[in-house]
């Protein structure tokens, strides 16, 4: 299968746009639920508290089904962070199809750095 440059541009454009709008939509839905339940509580962000349970991906996936506002917002945020990464994965696939092995390698290296950051970032 050969894809031309124009197709790739359109697909990458669509991935980015869909990712942004989907994550904004999810964050908005979660935000409404969050405000509904916690809107009258007092905010306290003056002191950094470190990692909280409700921010962890594990918690997010467990609590979306039970309609926890913060978990739904965080799912939207995770999708937003994943959007450029999905774009990188797609670029790699594209370069493989184009048989451009130099750029397949370069793209996979970028992906590798992000995955390394994801796996090792917490240990510093």
């Amino acid at each position: 299968m050969m894809t031309n440059k124009r197709d790739i541009q359109l697909i990458i454009s669509r991935i980015l746009r869909t990712g942004v709008f989907a994550s904004v939509g999810i964050a908005l839905a979660g935000g409404i639920i969050y405000l509904w339940r916690h809107g009258n509580e007092v905010v306290n962000y003056e002191v950094f508290k470190g990692a909280q349970g409700y921010q962890a991906p594990g918690y997010v996936f467990h609590n979306i089904v039970t309609i926890h506002g913060r978990a739904i917002i965080q799912a939207g945020i995770l999708l937003l962070i994943a959007t450029p990464v999905i774009r990188v994965i797609f670029s790699a696939v594209n370069f493989i199809l184009e048989k451009d092995y130099l750029y397949t390698g370069i793209t996979l290296l970028v992906l590798g750095i992000i995955i390394f950051s994801m796996l090792q970032g917490g240990s510093f």
Binding site: V20, A71, L80, I106, G121
Partner: protein, 278 residues
Amino acid sequence: MTVLVFTLILLCGSYIAGLLGSLTGLGGGFVIIPLLTLGLNVDIHYAVGASLIAAIATSSGSAAAYVKEGITNMRLGIFLEIATTIGAFAGAVLAVYIAAHYIAVLFGIILICSAVISLRKKRVRVNHKKSYLADKLKLNSSYPEGGKTIEYKITNVAGGFFMMMFAGVISGIIGIGSGALKVVVMDGFMRIPFKVSTTTSNFMIGVTAAASTVVYLQRGQIDPGICMPVVIGVVLGALSGSKILVKTTSSIWLKWVFAAIIFLLAIQMIYNGLTEQI
């Protein structure tokens, strides 16, 4: 302050940040950190996280439009992303060892540099000098301008690559896209046409910010209660900005106003950092 009031203020502030950022091309993330730390008394650790999320949202949104138009040099972007992601990861790791008030000072300094950079005149010229690395890496390309296709060549590939690593480190430490720094390296040093530099820089910001955001995420600096109004606000603001047709003259005027606001915010951030109020 209740959660509802906090959310509404942040939503409006982020909308204005996204709108101004899109109209001037300076990016909306710059206003987010001062808004949170100076305006809403939020700890800078949360502010840096929210600002990175804003950078990913605005850059992905506008990159979508530029990539479609065929201006972005995607090979160049992906090649330089090696440098920016390594830098961003290093920056995010380094940030733990830097006291919060120094981060505020560094943020202020970079803010002033970026405002100055964005105000300088753009040179319109196309480079035709050959470079061995640019040929090998297939970086030379073309872009559409007024119905014509303009070919250009890239120089100083290795030097530009290392400078991009520095831009990545800055982005990772203070939580901005560092678009202005990326443009300076590409436009001033690698001799890439301005239009291609700005759009390719935009294309790279999302991936650069993602590399450091995954580190901040694990440290608990990405808080859903703060990020929700920020993301919704900047995306809607950037969207409105792209819909408004700006005449060149009023755009220059707007740029000066925004630069003045940024300058004042930067001074305030540096002052609060030095007096350890942040």
